[in-house]
Every structure is written in structure tokens, then in C-alpha cells.
């Protein structure tokens, strides 16, 4: 098993492969290293990108393509697998290996690929309908198994490709074509869901903040096992400005809580912090000298996910407080590693398989 990565803080943006000290991203220990570092343009396919003008997907694609060369992996060892939906068209635009598969099933298909090919860097592109509705089962199981795949969930809180029905992350009461009197469903909080599935890496970022988005991609690549990244993504056609409260110049500082491992959690220009309330919940408070000791410092590496879960519950429909960054990153053996270890152990115990011996078994008789 590879050494746990002790270098760089997740979300801190210091763990790049290109930082000159020979560090490799933790998820790539079995992946060959590229002889030369490719450029973002090398990862662009010849296909015309066909999202609506102004779609948040463009910004995510650009950040993703610009980031991939940092992996220093030959592009033929990168595989992007998606389900169905607007976001799931992304693999067509990345000049590596890719599969645009079936609605909701990308984590399952990626699991088979990653479990059998640890020499690949496998990325899953999905949306809120794809991952949380039709594919909810595959998502939680891929996370609990800790398969070495990086899941980018584009959350626009709406069904885009089918033209505007409410999604499992739409706020209750959402008026859409399929819910003219308002939706009745209580929405999922994707970060809470992933933490509930014991995901070993859980993060959130926003399409409009490229620097932050890239830092989260970097942290995910530096995680051995399943990484879950929720990306708030704007759909300008069917759910425009869904995340506007997080993008307004003045309001952002008050609402957005940027998590940095090992740093005190501060927002509103440093004037506010978080502390635990009486029932284990987190609450925002003014930072005062007297209270400083009770305020929390972000620790993404806690084995117990309760704190990360409490962080995820700060996010409310009105975006009063929305943490972004890496909620949780804990070291656990990944599924493909464990699977390979079982094979290695069986072979070192009793040698490689002998077909003739297998077919014969223990109870034979001769007819002459």
C-alpha cells in the first residue's frame, strides 16, 4: 500500500505535482508519470462544446482541462466517465479516454474500471439528477467502498436536459413544469449525503470561483480513494441565479465560509467564527477575544465524520452560511488496492493458478 500522503493540506493548494519537489498526487501512486507535461489545449477534443451560452459547465470544463496537466499523467491514462444529463456531455470535450454512459450508472461503470485498472486516473462527471436521483444507490456505494475515483457532481438544482423539472436538490415549493403548484419533496444536501455514506473525501466548490474550484480538484487528486466534490453550477436557462446569494460582491463574505485545514474558521472579513452549540450543532458567532478559545479550527482529517456533518448542516436554502472547501479527508485503503492485495496475497501464499489442477479438483477417477 502506498504511503499516506503527508504533504500539503487538502484544499490548501500546495500539493500540486508541479511544485518541483517530486511529490505525486496520492491517487496516482499506481499511474505512470508523463514524460512531458501536457498543456490544457492537449486535453481539448475536436468536438464543439454544445452547452447553452452562459452555462456554468463551461467554467468547470475550462478549470478541469487546465488542471489535468498538473497530474503529470499521460493523457491516455486519464478516463472520464459520465452518466446522462447536461454535465455528462463533458467527456466528449476532453481528449482522453471517456465514456458517456447511462443515466445514474457512471459510478458503477467507473468502479469496474478503477478496480481492474489501478494505473488509470478515473474521473466521474455527474449532475444532481444523475447522481442523487436515478443513480443515488451507485453513488453511496462507490463512496462507502472508497473506490479510487473522483466524482464531480454539478449541482444546478434542476433538470436541464429534459427542460426544467425540479431535481432532488431543488428547494421545496419549487415551481417547475412538473410541479406547477410547487414541489413537495424535501431536498438532499449532497455533502451531508456523502458524509452519511462515510465518504473519505467530501468537498464543495462553486463554478464561478476558478481558483477555489482548482484547489479542490487538486485536493481530490491528492486523495487515495473516492473523492466527492459538489460543484454549485448555474443553469442560466431553467434555474438562473440559483446561487446568486453566494456571488453578490457584498454578501459573499457574510455567507461563504472557506474551509482551510488547520486554520480557524473565519468569515465576514474575519469577524465571525463557528462554535459548537449545546446539541452538537455548529453556530456562527462574532469573534471576540473572550470567546476565541471556544471557536473551532477546521480539521478535515477527523476520523469521526460528525464534525464534518455539522459543518454541512450550516448550508440552508437561503445560503445564510455556506461552507466551501474540503469538509473531510481521511486516509483509508482504497477498494482497488484491497482487491489487488487479495490477489497478491493468494499468489504469494500458493503461487499463480494452475488451470489443469483447478479443473481436476480433488475427487477424480480414471477410466482406461
Amino acid at each position: 500500500m502506498p504511503e499516506p500522503n503527508g504533504h500539503g493540506a487538502p484544499g490548501g493548494g500546495t500539493a500540486g505535482a508541479g511544485d518541483g519537489d517530486g511529490h505525486r498526487f496520492a491517487s496516482l501512486t499506481m499511474v505512470p508519470r508523463a514524460a512531458t507535461r501536457s498543456a490544457a489545449k492537449d486535453l481539448k477534443s475536436d468536438q464543439e462544446v454544445r452547452w447553452c451560452p452562459g452555462c456554468g459547465d463551461y467554467a468547470i470544463l475550462a478549470a478541469f482541462q487546465a488542471f489535468l496537466p498538473e497530474l503529470e499523467v499521460p493523457r491516455e491514462n486519464i478516463v472520464v466517465i459520465s452518466g446522462i444529463g447536461c454535465s455528462s456531455r463533458l467527456p466528449y470535450y476532453v481528449d482522453s479516454y471517456g465514456m458517456h454512459s447511462i443515466h445514474g450508472r457512471a459510478p458503477a461503470i467507473a468502479t469496474g474500471l478503477a478496480a481492474s485498472r489501478p494505473d488509470l486516473s478515473v474521473w466521474v462527471i455527474t449532475g444532481d439528477g444523475d447522481a442523487l436521483s436515478i443513480g443515488g444507490n451507485h453513488l453511496i456505494h462507490a463512496l462507502r467502498r472508497n473506490v479510487n475515483i473522483k466524482i464531480l457532481l454539478f449541482n444546478n438544482r434542476i433538470y436541464g436536459l429534459t427542460k426544467g423539472q425540479y431535481s432532488p436538490t431543488s428547494e421545496r415549493g419549487k415551481v417547475t413544469k412538473s410541479t406547477p403548484f410547487g414541489s413537495l419533496d424535501h431536498p438532499f444536501n449532497p455533502v451531508s449525503l456523502a458524509l452519511g455514506a462515510d465518504a473519505s473525501f467530501v468537498a464543495r466548490t462553486i463554478d464561478s470561483d476558478r481558483r477555489h474550484l482548482t484547489s479542490v480538484l487538486r485536493a481530490a487528486a491528492d486523495h487515495q480513494g473516492a473523492a466527492f466534490i459538489e460543484i454549485y453550477q448555474n443553469c442560466p436557462i431553467f434555474n438562473d441565479d440559483a446561487f446568486a446569494p453566494l456571488k453578490e460582491a457584498g454578501a459573499t463574505a457574510e455567507r461563504l465560509i472557506k474551509l482551510e485545514h488547520g486554520e480557524p474558521v473565519r468569515f465576514a472579513g474575519g469577524s465571525k467564527g463557528l462554535r459548537f452549540g449545546r446539541h452538537g450543532q455548529l453556530e456562527a458567532v462574532e469573534v471576540t477575544a473572550a470567546e476565541e478559545d471556544t471557536l473551532i479550527t477546521h480539521d478535515a482529517h477527523r476520523a469521526d465524520p460528525s464534525y464534518a456533518f455539522a459543518l454541512s448542516r450550516l448550508d440552508t436554502a437561503d445560503f445564510r452560511h455556506t461552507p466551501v472547501g474540503v469538509f473531510r479527508q481521511v486516509e483509508q485503503p482504497s477498494y482497488d488496492q484491497l482487491m489487488a492485495e487479495q490477489i497478491d496475497a493468494a499468489r504469494s501464499r500458493s503461487g499463480p493458478g494452475d488451470l489443469a489442477a483447478l479443473l481436476a479438483g480433488n475427487d477424480t477417477w480414471e477410466v482406461s
Binding site: V79, G98, M99, H100, G112, A114, Q342, W365, V367
Partner: protein, 622 residues
């Protein structure tokens, strides 16, 4: 006491008891002893889906039937010559199958008032004249077992549980079976529990000795070994043979084996078996559901594994969407459907052949998939290798239709010389990396440029430089593989995918017709697990003086190239199926031949005698 020895050419034995009575184990061991002795044999386990139905009830009866002979046989037999009934429920539910004059061994200890009432007997059949037609051997099996184990430091419950070994010992004596295998089996099975081991061995020996000394059995039987072809043999069940075939195919192709599966009766044993063979580099993945099972396999296939998923009918429904994707992206995939009685949950432990049309047509759009079926338990080995050959050579999903009868039934298998198995590595090649002149600039690799002969597209696995490409379920442009909504392109791609599958026919062995005197005007045509019953029925009809031809289909899609000729050569074609006429429907549609469909859907294989009379009826009314 020296007993009279009576020579027999075949015997059909049925062990029947409560689900907790260990009848399957007794049957398995008796089978193994019989195999080692050198008889030809065929078995049929029959058990409820409930793990432990309430004890002593009709719903909880579990049975194991075995035919063995001094000549080659094809089925586990229609009706038992000997029935061992371990309780009133087993007697009640199995007696109707026992012809008058045959042996009935009854465990009298279980015929208590309570047990009798449970299954609706007003009085004990042992005490009235209802069993008069049979040759009854009343044996207090439970109490004799307990008495024999008095010396051992085990609970009464454990002592009672060893009664199946007493029964096995008694039967092993009666038919002169070699006991060494069972004794060493018990030693290995209970290696960690020496008292239980010793008790089971003692129970077996007590049963053997009882047979030898009791006056309940005046005759001991002898069934000589069968003159099988020379070689090394073992006994094998269909699911084990299928799993071995997959391991062999992986070795023969030089591809790592990946199985994505979700537990389902009667397919789970394939997952269990393959999970053992890590030394062969086999990766088994127990998925969260049937969809993820096949999805993971498709992902592994994209990565260059020999990828398999195993399931039964209800799982096939859930996998249909992914099989459709595999058709569209043209990647190898082996889908093993171990059919069971349906629709819906149906009867999970009972056999049926009713998934043929689902396999052929159960997807949206024009979605052709090769379909093949094994004919016997041991033949599952060959069928698995053939499924792999077609999958890798033509880059297509292949559906293998086994069923519950083949899966759990067993027969002697002449172990093949591994050097004689086909070299699958010659059937395909991964696409080569782009050369220095073709550095893989966007658009240069053509993932849907087909081999001119097989029409297979390149299998370009991730990690190969210069072949980066994207595939998916959206229609692709011919040759380049980019997304295309062009009407003419779609028409071309639909026809190309169909032509690829149809073209496999040229690569198949012609169907062989068994028509010994060449005078037959009736052909009996079957597929899958009915091979044994049809073969036995045809033998009977021939013995009765009729000319009958028999042919059996391994390939259901495409059909072998000579099938049209074969069908037209006969005045009549009889198609027996354990469904309501699914192959018959396809044959009529494809060949305009008005085949006669004979159908039963009882969850059991055909009885050879019944089929023989159907054959004779057809000939008589021709």
C-alpha cells in the same frame, strides 16, 4: 448373514426430507461415491426457496434425485426406484412419483401424531394399507442414530442431525458404494469439531452396519461401472463448470477475468466459485444491485478485462439497459442468465427456459445480441468458453442461457486436456498504439472503423497512447465514432450492428443431426437443458421401432448456418421447450416452418417417458 446380490443396469434414488435434514448433502455425497465408483450418473436437487420453512411441513420438503447406471444416461430419471422419506411431509409430497412395487424406505421415528397432523394425515400411513403397493422398509433412523452416538459428547440435537449420515451409510451399503470419499469428506468438513466429526463418521458406519445386518433388506444391489471413454473424470455441476469455463477462457485469452454480480438464486454459486480463484487474478465484485453488477463489468471490459456478469431472469431485466449500452459501444461482455421459473420472482429454485425472448429482444431499439445455451451441466464449461470467444472476437455482449436444472444438477465430466482447449488469444487483439507518424492528434483514431471480415470495431483500451476516444450510448458516426444524429448514418449503424451479429453464423459449427437410419421424417429440435430428456425420449421412441431425428441448438442467435436446410429436410419438426413456445416462435418467424411446439412449465425438466409418448403421437398422426 450373506445377502443375495441382484444386478441392475440402472437405479433412480430419491432422498427426501425436511430442509433441515441434510438431504442435499446426503445426495451430494452419494453422487460423489457413485462417480468415483465409475457409474454414469445424472442428478437433480429440488429444494424450496425458503431456507428453513417451518419444520415438518410440505413447503419445507427438500429432495435430491439421482440416476446411475452401467451405461451412458442422459437424465436424472423420471420416477424413482427407491424413495427415502425422512418424515411424513417428504412421504406425502413424493409418494405420487413412486411407481408401485418399488422400494420405499421410511424413517418411522418422525411419524408422530403431531408430524402427521401437520401434513394432513389422519392416521399413520405406516399403519393402514395405503403403502401396500410398495416394498416398504420401516427403519427408525433417528432413534438408531441417537443410540449409536450415545458414547459421544454431543447434544441430542447434534446426534439427531447426523441421521442423514446414517441414511447415507445405509444406502451406500445397499448399493455397494465406496465409502472412503465420504469419510475423508467428513474429516475435512468437521476438522475443527472433532466430536461432531467422530459422531458423523459413526452415524455413517452405523447405517452401513444396519444395512448389512438387518432383515429389512434381503437384497443388495450391484450396478457395474459404465464403459465411459478413457480419461480422468470428476463429477461437476453446471454452475461450477460455468465458473471453470470462465477462468479457462480468461487464461486462454490472456485477459484478466472480472465478474460483477449480485446474489440471486440460482446463479450465486458462480460468484461463490469465482471468488475463490484469486490466484488466477480473478476479480469478483459483489455489487450493490444488478445494474451496478453489469455496469462494473462493462467498465472492466472498457479497461481490457474479460468481463462477466451472472444473474437470473429478474436480474436480466435490470441489466437490459447496460447490455444495450454494450451493444452500442461494442465492447465484449458475457452475461450469464441462469434461468428460473418466472414471471417476476416466480419460483426461484425451479427451472425454466422462458428467458429466450427476453435475451433476444429485451432491449430498446434494434439491439442484437448473440445468445448461446449449454446442453448439460458439464457442457456449461464449453459454453462459457464459446461465449467468451464470440464476445472478444466480435466485441459484443453475449448472453449465455443456463438454467436452474443445469446449474445445480451434476454429471461425470471427462476433464479436458488444457492443451486441447481453443487458443482465444488468436481471436482478438487490442488496438495498437498510434505510431510516430500518427501521433494521435484529435480525430485521427477511428474507433468505429470495422474489421472487414468480423465487422468488429477496435478494442482500444485506456492507457494506449494515440487512441484516446470517447464512446457512449448516443448514436455514433460510422468510422469516426463522434456523436451523430444524421438519419442515414443511423440507418447504416443499425444495419452494421445487425450485420455484425448475423455474420457470426459463418463462424459457427453447423448443427448436427442425429438420424441413425436416415429414414426419419420427424426432427425433434431442442435447445439448452432439455438435451438430456429429449435424447432419452428419442432413444425410447427408437427402441419402440420409430425413426426419429434429433438436433440440439447451442446457438440461438444467430442460428447455425445450416439450420434452414435442416428444418426443411423433415416433414415435421417437434420443438419441446420448458416455456410456452419461445424458440418455436422465432423459428416460425425466421424460417416460415410450422414447427410443432410442445410445452411444459412445471419448474421441472421433462420426463423422458412423457416426451417419448409425445414423439410417438406426432409420428402416429403424421
Amino acid at each position: 448373514m450373506t445377502k443375495q446380490v441382484q444386478k441392475l443396469d440402472h437405479v433412480i434414488i430419491r432422498f427426501a426430507g425436511d430442509s433441515g435434514d441434510g438431504m442435499q448433502l446426503a445426495g451430494d455425497r452419494f453422487t460423489q461415491e457413485t462417480a468415483v465408483f465409475g457409474n454414469d450418473l445424472s442428478t437433480m436437487p429440488n429444494f424450496p426457496a425458503e431456507i428453513r420453512a417451518p419444520a415438518g411441513t410440505l413447503a419445507g420438503v427438500s429432495s435430491f434425485q439421482l440416476q446411475f447406471a452401467d451405461h451412458d444416461i442422459l437424465t436424472p430419471g423420471d420416477a424413482p426406484d427407491v424413495l427415502i422419506a425422512m418424515n411424513p411431509a417428504a412421504l406425502k409430497s413424493n409418494l405420487k412419483d413412486l411407481p408401485p412395487g418399488r422400494d420405499l424406505i421410511v424413517n418411522t421415528d418422525e411419524f408422530t401424531k403431531r408430524n402427521l397432523t401437520k401434513v394432513g394425515y389422519e392416521g399413520s400411513p405406516l399403519e393402514d394399507d395405503s403403502l401396500e403397493p410398495y416394498n416398504v422398509h420401516a427403519v427408525p433412523i433417528t432413534s438408531m442414530t441417537v443410540k449409536a452416538l450415545e458414547e459421544y459428547d454431543i447434544t441430542r440435537k447434534d446426534a439427531e442431525r447426523a441421521k442423514n449420515m446414517f441414511a447415507l451409510g445405509m444406502m451406500s451399503w445397499l448399493y455397494d458404494r465406496p465409502a472412503e470419499g465420504t469419510l475423508s469428506f467428513l474429516k475435512a468438513k468437521f476438522a475443527g469439531k472433532p466430536e461432531i466429526m467422530a459422531a458423523n463418521v459413526a452415524a455413517f458406519q452405523a447405517g452401513w452396519n444396519f444395512g448389512e445386518t438387518t432383515e429389512a433388506f434381503s437384497v443388495r444391489y450391484e450396478v457395474k461401472p459404465a464403459p465411459l471413454a478413457p480419461g480422468t473424470y470428476r463429477n461437476i455441476s453446471g454452475n461450477t463448470a460455468l465458473a471453470y469455463g470462465l477462468v479457462a477462457a480468461s487464461q486462454l485469452a490472456g485477459l484478466p477475468l472480472f465478474l460483477g454480480s449480485y446474489p440471486i438464486t440460482p446463479a450465486s454459486d458462480i460468484l461463490h466459485e469465482l471468488a475463490k480463484h484469486k490466484r488466477f487474478g480473478v476479480r469478483t465484485f459483489q455489487a450493490e444491485d444488478e445494474i451496478a453488477a453489469v455496469g462494473s463489468a462493462l467498465g472492466a471490459s472498457f479497461g481490457g478485462s474479460l468481463a462477466v456478469t451472472s444473474t437470473s431472469g429478474p436480474g436480466m431485466l435490470l441489466k437490459a439497459e447496460t447490455v444495450g449500452l454494450a451493444v452500442s459501444v461494442e465492447l465484449p461482455l458475457i452475461v450469464c442468465d441462469i434461468q428460473r421459473a418466472g414471471p417476476s420472482t416466480g419460483m426461484p429454485t425451479k427451472t425454466e427456459q422462458a428467458d429466450l425472448l427476453q435475451a433476444m429482444f429485451g432491449r430498446n431499439g434494434e439491439s442484437p445480441v448473440p445468445v448461446i445455451a449449454p446442453a448439460s451441466p458439464a457442457d456449461c464449461f464449453n459454453a462459457a468458453i464459446e461465449a467468451a470467444r464470440i464476445a472478444v472476437k466480435y466485441r459484443t455482449p453475449v448472453i449465455l442461457l443456463s438454467d436452474g436444472y443445469l446449474a445445480n444438477g451434476s454429471e461425470p465430466w471427462r476433464i479436458p486436456d488444457t492443451a486441447s482447449l481453443p487458443d482465444l488469444s488468436q481471436e482478438f487483439a487490442f488496438a495498437e498504439p498510434a505510431g510516430p507518424d500518427n501521433d494521435g492528434d484529435a480525430g485521427e483514431f477511428e474507433p468505429f472503423r470495422r474489421d472487414p471480415v468480423t465487422l468488429a470495431r477496435p478494442w482500444a483500451v485506456p492507457g494506449t497512447p494515440g487512441l484516446e476516444h470517447r464512446i457512449g450510448g448516443i448514436e455514433k458516426a460510422d468510422i469516426t465514432g463522434t456523436i451523430s444524429y444524421d438519419p442515414d448514418n443511423h440507418d447504416r449503424m443499425v444495419r452494421l450492428r445487425q450485420a455484425k451479429i448475423d455474420g457470426i453464423a459463418a463462424d459457427l459449427a453447423p448443427v448436427e443431426v442425429d438420424d441413425p437410419d436416415g429414414a426419419a421424417r420427424l426432427l425433434v429440435l431442442g435447445w439448452g437443458s432439455t438435451f438430456g430428456s429429449i435424447g432419452a425420449a428419442v432413444r425410447r421412441a427408437r427402441k419402440a421401432g420409430h425413426s426419429v431425428a434429433q438436433a440440439h441448438l447451442r446457438h440461438l442467435n444467430p442460428f447455425p448456418p445450416n439450420l434452414a436446410d435442416v428444418l426443411r429436410r423433415y416433414d415435421q419438426v417437434l420443438v419441446p421447450e420448458i416455456n410456452l413456445g419461445q424458440l418455436a416462435l422465432v423459428l416460425r418467424g425466421r424460417f416460415l416452418v410450422d414447427v410443432i411446439s410442445y410445452n411444459q412449465v412445471r419448474g421441472l425438466p421433462f420426463r423422458a417417458a412423457e416426451l417419448a409418448s409425445v414423439i410417438e403421437d406426432v409420428i402416429r398422426h403424421a
